[in-house]
């Protein structure tokens, strides 16, 4: 978009005054008449079977109104993953309550009472008889031949063939379906041999059999690649599990009215949470209203709400009263989702100029007890995209453990692969005597860069665009890389400085969602937004595109969001950096359609052809003939049909059709689905530069300078973009400087269950100077040119700091992240990395 007035400009979002005056209501701020309060009974053991529950004393306590157990839950139903893939109903997946807890802190039952104190007292009165079961919180340990499995089914996710449906008696046998036979996720036992573990004692990740066919692929000839390599490095490294810890926990309030569930919840996505809740509660999507005007952070942990939302919903139905489930921060630590830890081994062959000839990648994801996360496979595809190895073999497994349930956290899988490969790139640059920026230039993706394994026809997927070289060049200049290089590694008293560079990338947008606009008879343009308001501002930002195209002043626009009873269209999940890309496309589609309708209305009213009319300045005009938006809206109501929402376009989602019907007759109602073509898969990138100053006498270090250059296409809202780039960089920095989850291996319980034990970075941990800038080149495969950015800065935030530490102190400091002062000091003294990479959660 050229010559924009709104797109690319800073503005004040319409929700900020409510936020800054305390009027903004988050889920737990709501009250309903007669509302009861829930407390949860959480498992004290990492794995057990509940033999007996005696709740007599609890139920006899005055003020106690009801109990909910796993028996009250509907049977598991089919669902959809972040990426839109169907998740088949499975008894292996997580449920809101369980009779077989598989991690310490898993909810077993809920009690509702007149107040929270009474509910808590009732929980204390409940007697639960547990049969302890074998447990394991260390993924590698589960693979040892004599060690326990975390689940009765086994220890590793894989896919097994789905048995064909039994044909009805007498029916002819069904023809075999085309394509590969269908499979479903399954958990199996995998035990490696003692010989497989021989390398363990050398600090190298053993590489036994991996059984998941989807996590086993290759392209090119890696053996030839290694042969042609000037340098081959074989490194084992691990990254930590990290809890999402949004400041607002996943508290939920629910009540039923006229057969409908009204749910006040904390979710990243508004429209997309409706089918999720319907599935968890076992009702139709038409029976669910989700209210979520403000969400206090999610970072991937509340993509479409949380499965625990079913607890107050089902309790409210069972006892016919509104129910509030307040989740405190300790409970949030248990149920609030964790980024999987990884143990990885990379054998990388480099040409003389630093180009990666071959990458042999093996890694294990600590999947926690439930649904297989995509981190393991996605991370491998991202490795092939971000570093463009000439040949690659990938093997991986998602290993089940009795740790907190895992889920997405910004740049899932991608963050880990960047954090693991970047230090190897940095080491190679030192060994080959290549400039660190240059080794990134040689290996970064450009244009329609290919990634992942070839498909059945031998073709590989590719990006829509990539401008990473441009980002690296811009960054090197702004960061004064060459000047700083001269001082790097030089001692000043006990202080030594080092500089690091990293680049990173991730999926940055989906397609195919709906836009919905109402132009009211008062002339206001009302944008219906099914996007969640999780703090990225995209819930509002994307509609600036529509306002821009319609030529309407922003002051004459309103955005409706946060309540699915208010006629919201089907929108993408607000997770995985989907929104800015997906929903600017929808905004573009619906604005294009709105212009067309306005032209048609003007031609019908004033004569002439629709094409002769121009839309702008809140008017539709052609020569001397003109009508205002207000008049056009009034005329739309008179015309009815497709003009005022009484007819809906065929191709929009059913969810949107309901919203259109809800707006019918209120003005000019226009909906449209994004059907724009796209050649490639949308990804965004970032180049990150960091300088650290380390005190070698204490091991303490500070990040003195930091710069992130984002390749995100067209910028929609600069301040929001900057918040994402630096905010997500800071999440990455937390992975470098100290945030992690620690487990007691003996008892299988987490030792970090509060902020002070699992300390997120504070405002004093930020780089002393930090800046961001956008490359500013539009993506050619989307009409607005914009891509998402929430993901890539995380991995390169981690890696730029790690590389700066190595630059200052050499390669023998760390084999796992985070790297805190203690790790630096003890490793400096020992002359080797003290913390090994194979034990989980230390």
């Amino acid at each position: 978009m050229a010559d924009t007035k709104l797109v690319g400009q800073n503005y004040t979002t319409p929700d900020i005054v409510a936020k800054v005056t305390g009027k903004a209501k988050y889920a737990e701020d709501f009250r309903a008449d007669g509302m009861l309060f829930i407390k949860l009974l959480l498992s004290p053991m990492p794995h057990a079977r509940v033999r007996r529950i005696n709740s007599d004393a609890a139920m006899a306590l005055p003020g106690v109104r009801g109990i909910l157990t796993a028996d009250d839950l509907p049977a598991p139903a089919e669902g959809r993953a972040d990426n839109g893939a169907v998740i088949q109903a499975s008894m292996l997946n997580e449920r809101a309550l369980t009779m077989e807890p598989r991690y310490k802190g898993e909810p077993i039952l809920a009690v509702a009472a007149v107040d929270e104190l009474t509910a808590a007292e009732a929980i204390e009165l409940i007697q639960v008889e547990y049969e302890p079961l074998p447990f394991n919180v260390d993924p590698l340990d589960t693979l040892r031949p004599d060690r326990p499995n975390p689940r009765t089914e086994g220890n590793v996710w894989t896919r097994t063939p789905v048995p064909p449906p039994t044909p009805a008696a007498g029916a002819p046998p069904a023809a075999a379906p085309a394509g590969p036979p269908p499979t479903r996720p399954d958990i199996k036992e995998v035990k490696w041999t003692a010989t497989d573990f021989d390398e363990y004692d050398l600090g190298k990740l053993p590489m036994g059999e991996n059984i998941d066919p989807s996590l086993n692929w290759s392209y090119g000839d890696i053996e030839a690649g290694f042969k042609e390599s000037e340098l081959v490095l074989d490194e084992t490294f691990s990254t930590a599990a990290n809890a999402n810890l949004p400041l607002e926990s996943r508290s939920t309030m629910a009540y039923w009215r006229n057969g409908k569930l009204f749910l006040h919840g904390s979710t990243q996505s508004t429209a997309q949470t409706v089918p999720a809740v319907a599935r968890w509660v076992g009702i139709d999507v038409k029976e669910v209203i989700v209210i979520s005007e403000y969400t206090g952070g999610g970072f991937g942990s509340k993509v479409a709400g949380s499965i625990q939302m079913a607890i107050p919903a089902l309790m409210a139905r069972k006892i016919s009263a509104p129910v509030m489930m307040r989740i405190n921060q300790e409970e949030e630590h248990y149920i609030g989702r964790v980024r999987p830890a990884f143990h990885g081994r990379m054998k990388v062959g480099f040409a003389k100029n630093g180009k990666i000839k071959a990458l042999d990648m093996y890694w294990l994801a600590d999947n926690g007890p439930y649904e297989q996360q995509h981190d393991c496979g996605t991370g491998a595809r991202m490795a092939s995209l971000i570093y463009q190895p000439e040949s690659m073999r990938f093997r991986g497994m998602s290993v089940v453990t009795n740790t907190n349930p895992t889920g997405s956290q910004s740049q899932p899988g991608g963050m880990n692969v960047v954090a693991i490969i970047e230090p190897i790139l940095s080491k190679a640059a030192r060994k080959l005597n290549i400039d660190h920026v240059d080794i990134h230039r040689v290996n970064c993706p450009a244009g329609k860069a290919q990634f992942g394994p070839p498909n059945a026809k031998g073709a590989r997927a590719y990006a829509t665009s990539a401008f990473v070289k441009e980002a690296l060049d811009k960054g090197a200049e702004m960061f004064r890389w060459n000047d700083r290089k001269a001082n790097s590694g030089k001692r000043n008293g006990s202080k030594v400085r080092g500089i690091g560079v990293s680049h990173s990338g991730y999926i940055a947008g989906s397609v195919g969602f709906d836009g919905l606009i109402l132009i009211r008879p008062d002339g206001i343009v009302q944008f219906q937004s099914g996007i969640g308001n999780l703090g990225t501002h995209s819930v509002i930002d994307v509609h600036r595109v529509g306002a821009e195209m319609l030529g309407v002043p922003w002051e004459r626009c309103e955005v409706v969001w946060g309540d699915t009873s208010r006629n919201l269209p089907w929108s993408c999940i607000s997770g995985g950096s989907q929104t800015i890309h997906a929903m600017t496309r929808s905004a573009h589609a619906v604005a294009t359609e709105t212009i067309k309708r306005l032209q048609e209305i003007a031609a019908k009213t004033l004569g002439g052809t629709p094409e002769s009319y121009k839309v702008g300045g809140e008017k539709v005009s052609s020569g001397g003939r003109s009508m205002t938006f207000a008049q056009a809206a009034q005329k739309a109501i008179e015309l009815g049909g497709k003009y005022d929402g009484h007819e809906a376009p065929e191709n929009v989602n059913g969810f949107t059709k309901v919203a259109i019907a809800g707006l019918a007759g209120k003005g000019l109602v226009v909906a449209a689905r994004d059907t724009y073509p796209r050649d490639g898969a949308t990804h965004s990138f970032v180049a990150t530069f960091a300088e650290v100053e380390i005190d070698v006498e204490t091991g303490a270090y500070a990040i003195t300078d930091f710069l992130a250059v984002a390749d995100v296409g067209t910028v929609i809202n600069p301040r929001s973009l900057g918040g994402q780039v630096l905010g997500r960089s800071m999440l990455g920095i937390s992975h470098a400087i100290g945030q992690k989850i620690v487990y007691d291996q003996h008892y299988g319980v987490p030792l970090a269950v509060r902020y002070y034990q699992n300390r997120p970075p504070s405002i004093l941990d930020t780089p002393k100077n930090w800046k961001w800038v956008a490359v500013g080149l539009p993506d050619p495969e989307t009409p607005v040119g914009a891509r998402g950015i929430g993901e890539p800065p995380v991995g390169s935030g981690t890696a730029a700091v790690l590389n700066a530490i190595s630059d200052a102190l050499g390669d023998e400091i760390f084999r796992r992240a985070p790297v805190n002062a203690d790790a630096i000091l003890t490793s400096l003294e020992a002359g080797r990395p003290v913390l090994e990479a194979l034990t989980a959660h230390i």
Partner: protein, 208 residues
């Protein structure tokens, strides 16, 4: 003992047992401190040594009569008795600062102050920062102008901490201001924009 006009009303007691239950619920168990709406079920005579429950608090310039249990924290009273939900509970354990309010102009974590201890003091919450006519406080204006914060769950606490800090140091450097609000966590990690917004607020405050 109190200037409350309601002080002479029958005063349901806080028994030792209820106090201990509250502590248990707040601490070692699966629960946290509870909503204390027990007025409906708690009754009877005031026991000797009991603490008055009907007290008057000065919140945002208004005297508010309120029924307060002995063990109740100010955050609970504000949120669940007085309906001032702008004060957020992030951790409820003095770790995150989301519940920061001013007590006689000094920032405090409301989750870690017993309500009874603020009798006779001036409590200011985020709802009381703007003028009666809705004119925003300069720090609030700074946030609006700079579009500071993302999800904003931490915002009320940060704003109150900044307002309190700026009363002692109206002209801080960026680094000093960061120290002034370093008792508050932002999980969106929007610290750069937060500091810019609060710095702008400080500027506006000096100009006011």
């Amino acid at each position: 003992m109190t200037d409350s006009p309601l002080a002479d009303l029958p005063n349901p007691s806080v028994s030792r047992r209820n106090f201990i239950k509250g502590v248990i619920a707040a601490g070692a168990t699966v629960s946290s401190a509870s909503y204390l709406f027990r007025t409906a079920v708690v009754s009877g005579q005031q026991s000797s040594g009991g603490v008055e429950r009907l007290i008057t608090l000065n919140v945002n310039g208004q005297d508010r009569p309120v029924d307060v249990m002995k063990q109740e924290t100010l955050a609970w009273t504000l949120r669940y008795k007085l309906g001032l939900t702008g004060t957020k509970l992030g951790c409820d354990r003095a770790e995150c600062g989301a519940c920061t309010v001013l007590i006689d102009d000094v920032p405090h974590y409301a989750c870690s102050i017993l309500t009874h201890s603020v009798r006779g003091k001036k409590v200011t919450t985020i709802e009381g920062l703007a003028a009666a006519d809705g004119t925003l406080h300069p720090v609030q204006r700074g946030v609006v102008e700079e579009q500071g914060f993302q999800c904003a769950f931490c915002m009320p606490g940060f704003v109150m901490a900044a307002v309190g800090f700026l009363k002692t140091n109206p002209n801080p450097t960026r680094q000093e201001l960061a120290h002034g609000v370093s008792g508050n966590l932002c999980r969106c990690q929007d610290y750069d924009k937060i500091l810019t917004a609060l710095s702008r607020g400080a500027e506006l405050m000096r100009g006011a």
